[in-house]
């Protein structure tokens, strides 16, 4: 519900900036911050929803091995703590923090459409509280991530956008997806 309301608010906000600034077709160094909703695949095949944040840093790559369509590369960080109480006496919270390196392809037509793909690492921290017995387990594993972003220029430096990501946890063969809204600042 929160995400739906936020989506409506943000679209209204972006509509108010309909006098669009010219969006640069040239890749720029940028920092993006998104509020995300993570839909994590559970052992039963259902999805657990965690809220969190995504942070992206991007830098231009003018000539990436001569393949001009990869316009930038960067780092993508997802922070998704688990805040869902499971039951009164058996609670296991599985917090996910991931860091991926990505290559990004951009296409600009009023909006900036970006596709990004890359490998990453997942730090999963599990907090156990089972009948008052407390323990913690931390594990690093690998993932592959891909995403689609649509951004709209509010000013020359500020953009507003939507980011959809999928992440595949290789070790556990689970596919998660993330849906985020946020802003980016171009240097």
């Amino acid at each position: 519900m929160f995400i739906k309301r936020l989506t409506i608010f943000c679209f209204l906000l972006s509509a108010s900036f309909a006098q669009a600034e010219i969006m640069s077709e040239q890749p720029q160094q940028s920092v993006r911050v998104y509020i995300n909703s993570a839909h994590l695949e559970t052992p039963s095949g259902d999805r657990a929803q965690h809220y969190g944040a995504s942070l992206l840093y991007g830098a231009p790559v003018p000539d990436f091995y001569g393949f001009e369509h990869f316009t930038s590369f960067g780092l993508l960080m997802n922070l998704n703590p688990d805040t869902t109480k499971k039951s009164g006496e058996v609670n296991i919270l599985e917090h996910f923090y991931s860091l991926s390196a990505y290559l990004r392809f951009d296409f600009v037509k009023l909006f900036r459409f970006s596709a990004l793909v890359g490998p990453g690492l997942l730090l999963a921290r599990t907090n156990y509280n089972v009948l008052n017995t407390v323990a913690t387990h931390t594990e690093i594993s690998t993932l592959l991530s891909g995403g689609l972003a649509i951004d709209y220029a509010i000013t020359e430096q500020w953009e507003f956008g939507w980011l959809f990501q999928v992440q595949y946890r290789l070790a556990y063969q689970k596919l998660d997806w993330y849906n985020g809204l946020g802003v980016s600042f171009n240097f």
Binding site: P43, S44, K86, S87, V90, Y128, H137, L170, Y172
Partner: protein, 378 residues
């Protein structure tokens, strides 16, 4: 950046994060309980589980993402045919675990712990019935454990999918067990409570020995409304008694949900069949309340001098096929009641044991119909 990329590459190549399940007996940490209470993270050895990842083994397999069709006609519901009962019959589950330095498997998240704990509880329960009451794996059969299933129904032209919580259940005819999604209101999740799972498996035992695994036997032969209500109560009372036979603790239900409906099932209950008939509001559980009278009677008989839970449990199991013939004969009667079963159980005992059983049964079932039905029970 180069360090991060190279670390990622090494991780990708070595599948870092994945644990290899050790060879030999499967040992894992689960939530379990015995007569003394619950144990967190107890290291147990599985006997029947073969595939930890998919929670599959000799006695059962776990299935996720199943959707029951609430709109299926009664004839389909009792058919025992999964294609008629489910919109979606579910798929394999995939637990997330890691192996610690003691070669013990640990769950990485709530669902994985719940799946392993549920399976272990059913292993213990199946083993209990095989060891003590001569059941065989063939007789019980491999069953499905549906994990967090959903229910689908159509409201006008819209399809609604409902997530049921606060329950576990047995599906007669299908012969499978359902562990519904955990609610925050549950203290110890139902799916990790062996007493609750023992109760549900009690329905399976009843289904095997009374109904010969056929839901049609109960629901498809034109039973009167009264007969069905009495049989439901008997089924619930016996399931509670079978749970107690297994775990030997009458209060474990309330560790999951400490509500009046469960408190009313702690035996011995404070009412008899006559006082319940006179004032049904003394208990909140509908037909469960009379079932708890049956459980109280069997419980008292089990703890009586020179008696034992094993003796009473054996008499009950031997009585069930004979009670089934009573059901077939009298199911359309408006006076069908517990005395048919009580007489059959008493008849499985001899001499003083039978006299004691009759005395206890008459004490608990003091309403006029059951008193008349038990008149020849000496």
């Amino acid at each position: 950046m180069p360090h991060f990329l190279s670390l990622s590459l090494v991780c990708l190549l070595s599948s870092c994060g994945a644990s290899t399940i050790p060879a030999g007996p499967i040992r894992a940490r689960v939530v379990t309980a015995d007569a003394q209470g619950f144990y967190p993270n107890k290291v147990v050895e599985f006997k029947y589980l073969q595939d930890v990842r998919h929670v599959d083994g000799v006695i059962a397999v776990m299935r996720g993402q199943s959707v029951l069709n609430l709109d299926a006609p009664d004839s389909d519901q009792i058919s025992g045919d999964p294609n008629k009962i489910f919109v979606k019959n579910g798929s394999q589950v995939h637990t997330d675990t890691f192996v610690d330095q003691h070669n013990v498997i640990n769950a990485k998240n709530f669902d994985s712990l719940a799946m392993l704990s549920t399976y272990y509880a059913f292993e213990q329960i199946v083993d209990f019935w095989i060891t003590n009451y001569d059941f065989t794996l063939q007789e019980i059969g491999k069953f499905n454990i549906y994990y967090d299933p959903q229910v689908q129904t159509k409201v006008d032209s819209a399809t609604a999918t409902i997530t049921q919580r606060l329950n576990a259940s047995y599906f007669p005819g299908l012969g499978d067990l359902f562990v519904w999604k955990t609610s925050r209101l549950e203290d110890i999740p139902f799916k990790m409570n062996p007493a609750v799972l023992g109760h549900e498996f009690g329905h399976k035992i009843f289904d095997i020995r009374f109904a010969h695994k056929s839901a049609n036997f109960v629901y498809g032969q034109g039973a009167s409304v009264n007969s069905l209500i009495q049989l439901k109560g008997i089924n619930e009372g016996l399931a509670d008694f079978m749970s107690w036979l297994f775990i030997q603790n009458v209060t474990l239900f309330t560790r999951s949900l400490d509500v009046e409906a469960f408190q009313d099932r702690i035996v011995p209950v404070a009412w008899t069949s006559a006082s319940l008939l006179k004032d049904p509001s003394i208990c909140v559980g509908s037909f469960y309340c009379k079932g708890s009278v049956l459980n109280s009677a069997l419980h008292e008989l089990s703890l009586a001098q020179n008696m034992s839970p094993l003796k009473v449990g054996t008499a009950m199991l031997q009585a069930l096929p004979k009670f089934a013939s009573d059901w077939q004969r009298y199911l359309s009667s408006d006076n069908f009641d517990y005395f048919y079963l009580l007489n059959r159980i008493a008849n499985e005992l001899a001499g003083n044991e039978k006299t004691l059983a009759c005395t206890i049964f008459k004490k608990w079932f003091d309403d006029s119909i059951n008193q008349a039905g038990l008149a020849k029970c000496l």
